[in-house]
Each structure stands twice: as C-alpha cells, then as structure tokens.
Amino acid sequence: MSTRLPEELQQRCAQILDNDVQGVPLTCSDYLLFAIATIMVPAILIAIGVLL
C-alpha cells in the first residue's frame, strides 16, 4: 500500500507529475542534432578512417 512509503516520498511522487516541476524535456530538434552527432558524424569518421 502507498501508506507504507515515507510521506515525503509520496508527496514527491505526486508533485513530480506536474509538468512545471519536471525536468525540461528534449525537443525534436535536440533528437535530430543528437542523431547527427552520434550516428552521421561517426559514419563519416569511419568512412574517412577506412579510406586513409
């Protein structure tokens, strides 16, 4: 039962569902740049490394 949890933890679990107190999420452009940096850039580095 939820009552077994410390009261502060229960309060935190309830309040963190509010978007205003959650961490700011990543946006679509963040994911796009992330994909470029971690997939496209390594692919280019590998291609250059193999060719050299």
């Binding site: 039962m1 935190r12 679990c13 963190i16």
Partner: protein, 492 residues
C-alpha cells in the same frame, strides 16, 4: 506537508523537483568528463592497438565513442531527467519492482569492476615507480600493488564520506587537472617516440579482415560507453533540464573516454607489451620529473572516477529494502568492501579480468538499454507512473508477477543470446555479421523488439504493467492526485 528534505531525496534516489536541481551545463559536463577520464583509458586504447594502427585507431576511437553513447543516453537521460530519478529506479517499469534488483546488480558489478581496475592500475603504477627509482625490490611488486590498491580505496572513501554533493562538487577541479595532465602525458609520449614513430607503428595482432578489426575497436568503445548506464542517471537528475544535460553527457562521457584513450592507443602501438599504459616507458625515458607527472595524473584522474563509481553504486544499493536505514558512511564502506578484497587478493589477475569485464558490459547493458528505449519511446510514450516505481507490493503497477516482469527478463535473455552468438565474450572470437553490425547494437535491437512483442501479446491485453486501455490504479491504491496532461497516453 512541504517537500523540503533535499538531502534525504538525493541520497535515497527519490524524485527531485526542478527547483531543487542546481547543476548547469558546465557542472554536468565536468562531472561526466572527470568520470570518463581515468587510467582505464590507457587500457581501452591499448586494446584498440591490437586491431588498428594510429590513424585508423584514432578515427575508430572517436567514432566509437560517439556511437557508443547513443544507447545509454536514450535509455537513461529522458526519464531520469524528467522525474529526477536514477537509472535503477527507472528500470523498475520494465523489470518489475523486484526485477530491478537485476539492474542494481549490474550497476554494482560494473561500477565496482571499473573501480577494481582503477585501484589495481594505480597500485601497479606506483609499484613500477618505486622499482624504477630503486626504492623497492621487484619481488615485492605484487604486495605493493595490493597494499596501495587497498589504501586507495580508503582515500576515496574518506573523500566521499561527506556526501553526494561533495562528490559532484569536486568534479570541476578534477576534470581541469586531468585534462592538463593527460595533455602533458600525450606530449611527453610524442616527444619521446616522435610523431612518425606513432604513425608508422602497425597494429599488434589484427584479424585478417579490415571489417573485423574496425568493428572490434568500435565494439570496445560501445561497451565502454554502455557502462555509463549507472553514472548518467545520478548525474542528470540534478540538472533542471534534459536539454541542458544532453551535450555535456555526449561530449563528457562519450568523447571524453574516446579522447582519453588516444594516449593508450599510441602507447600500445609503440611500446610493445605495455597494454597501453605509458607509465613504465615514460619513467624509464624521462626519470624523476616525468615519474612525478605520471604519479600526479594517476592519483588525480582515478580518484575522481572512483568517487563517482562508489557514489553511483551506493545510491543504487540504498534502493534495497531497509538499506536506507544505513548511514551514508556505512553504505559507502560496505559497498566498497568487496572491491577492497578483490584488490587485496587478486590484483595479479587484472589483465585477463579486463577483457572479460568489457564483454560483460556489452552483454549486460546493451539488452537493458534496448528494453528501456523500446519501453519509453514506443510503449509508454514518455511517461511513468512514478509512485509505482517506489511501491514495493501489489499496489504498484510495476509489480507484474511476484515483482518480476517475465517479458522483461525474456527480452533481456534474448538480447544476451544475440550478443553471445555474435561475439564470444571470453575468447573475443566473432561470428558474421558481427564485423558489419557490432554485437551490442543487435543485442539491444533484439531485446527491444522482443519486449515490444511480448508486451503487446501478453501484458497489454490484460492491462498489466500500466500497459493497455484496461490499465488503472491497482486495487487498494488511490489514484494519483496529480496527473500528467501534456504527454500522450501509452500507445498500447
């Protein structure tokens, strides 16, 4: 009741509110970078020198470090940052309230495994310096390694007994010092052997095919980056924004270990049988001054990393029932005790241990990342029932079957089987198509797909695990007083 006990929440892995999180971009980057840069970089680079020359190895290390950070970032950063929770707590949604003991075990073994390697290498470096300077006879080498290694554990414990905040606040100082010192070490190495000597050196024992060599080097970097799984959650939960944490994680953890490993790569190529560790060579060539520089590097670099390792594993262990009753000091001591025993009695086995340990990281964390990514992005669409992450019994949506999610464990096993099929983790012998795919990425993809299929077939129809339209608060538990409205409902 107001929420005001930040320290309690911080030490026990409870959700942190955005206003409580004080770490900005620079602090996150420095914490990540100081964790990534350690003497394991020598060994990782040395491992790559087995397969690739300096030019190819440099490109492979940089590419692999970026590729490797993909899975661990997607599997931890969005959820840990959103709810202010750590990686182990987040895994309860996929493995079950008791099933998350598996991730706790993985966190403990990986962080302590790294720490054992660091402590042993620190002991070996100091022993080598003492022998080189004629202070100690070589016959006491093993004893010296064990004693220095155990003493190093106590030094780290003394530093982190002040609490988690202290651990992270030291990150900037350590990161700056490590950057300067590693640049000095790289400069010394190139001065001694010359740039041409490095560039013309050939790989030590490559496979016949280029693809196998490239992929082996990339796989090592992917596996190393997967081992950041325990570290990312505890760091990013203290930042108010995932956007603020993303690039510090990619550059600090990912590129940090790649750049740091370059010294090990070059050393491994030009100093045969060094395994990438430049200590002995540089001391032989450079004498006392170079020896002191190396010693300073080893002490500073490894202390920062070991601190974060013990911190992350202590945070995970405190998730165990009743473990939160222990004081912070007792927690870190008990967590470190097995590492002390291993360092004290098995220091001479470090070489064989390292290769198997690297494989273990890929075998264990790749499937877990695949499952978490599939769950968060495909099945739950970016939301957890946060209270259920902490409820220990049937009132939790994540209780599943006796606290274990069978679908999660089957998917995990499928990922492990895929990895082992592609790459023998003991002998490091691969099967096609490893040379084109690595082993970690297919293992993660298989685990993720099996998880999605399993959830849709077995869990979603009955609403178990918070999946499906039938999902509701389990009996005996009131609905949460606050509900998320800005994110869509789970897709199944």
């Amino acid at each position: 009741m107001s929420i005001d006990n930040y320290k309690l929440a911080e030490e026990n892995g409870w959700p942190l509110m955005r206003s409580e999180r004080g770490f900005g971009k620079l602090a996150i980057f420095l914490a990540a970078f100081s964790t990534a840069m350690a003497t394991w970089c020598f060994t990782i680079g040395g491992f790559v020198s087995t397969y690739l020359s300096a030019t190819a190895g440099t490109f492979a290390l940089l590419a692999g470090s970026l590729l490797g950070i993909v899975m661990v970032t997607l599997a931890t950063l969005p959820m840990c940052s959103k709810y202010g929770i750590d990686s182990v707590v987040a895994s309860r949604a996929q493995l079950g309230t008791r099933g998350s003991y598996l991730s706790l075990f993985l966190v403990y073994t990986s962080t302590m495994g790294w720490n054992v390697i660091l402590f042993i290498y620190k002991g070996r470096a100091i022993a080598e310096l003492l022998v080189t300077f004629g202070i100690m006879d070589r016959k006491y080498w093993n004893l010296c390694v064990a004693i220095v290694g155990v003493l190093a554990v106590f030094v780290v414990l003394d530093l982190i007994r002040k609490g988690p905040e202290y651990v992270r606040s030291r990150g900037p100082i350590i990161a700056i010092m490590v950057t300067v010192m590693s640049t000095v070490v790289l400069g010394l190495l190139i001065m001694r052997v010359g740039l041409h000597g490095v560039l013309s050196a050939v790989a030590i024992a490559p496979y016949d095919g280029a693809a196998g060599n490239w992929t082996s080097a990339l796989e090592v970097m992917v596996a190393v980056n997967l081992s950041w799984w325990p570290y990312v959650g505890p760091i990013v939960r203290t930042s108010p924004s995932a956007r603020q944490s993303l690039w510090p994680v990619v550059v600090g953890f990912g590129l940090g270990v790649g750049i740091g490993s370059l010294v090990g790569l070059y050393t491994g190529l030009v100093v045969k049988d060094s395994g990438g560790d430049p200590t002995s060579f540089l001391v032989d060539q450079g004498g006392v001054i170079v020896g002191i520089v190396m010693l300073a590097f080893l002490l500073i670099a490894n202390v920062g990393t070991a601190m974060m390792g013990i911190y992350a594993s202590s945070l995970a262990v405190r998730q165990l029932p009743k473990a939160d009753k222990l004081s912070w000091k007792w927690t870190i001591f008990l967590v470190s005790l097995p590492a002390m025993l291993v360092v004290g009695f098995f220091a001479s086995s470090a070489e064989s241990f390292f290769t198997i340990f690297l494989a273990f990281l890929g075998v264990a964390f790749a499937p877990l990342c695949g499952i978490q990514i599939a769950d968060w992005f495909v099945l739950r669409r970016g939301r957890f029932d946060v209270l259920s992450l902490y409820l220990p019994d049937r009132s939790s949506k994540y209780f599943y079957l006796a606290g274990l999610n069978p679908v999660g464990f089957v998917a995990f096993a499928a990922g492990i089987a895929t990895y082992i099929y592609l790459l023998d983790p003991i002998n490091y012998v691969y099967r096609t198509p490893f040379q084109y795919t690595t082993a970690s990425f297919p293992a993660a993809i298989v685990a993720g797909v099996v998880y999605i299929v399993g959830v849709m077939l077995f869990l979603a129809p009955s609403g178990v695990g918070g999946y499906g339209r039938k999902s509701a608060a389990p009996s005996g538990r009131p609905a949460s007083p606050v509900t998320e409205t800005a994110t869509p409902a789970p897709v199944v």
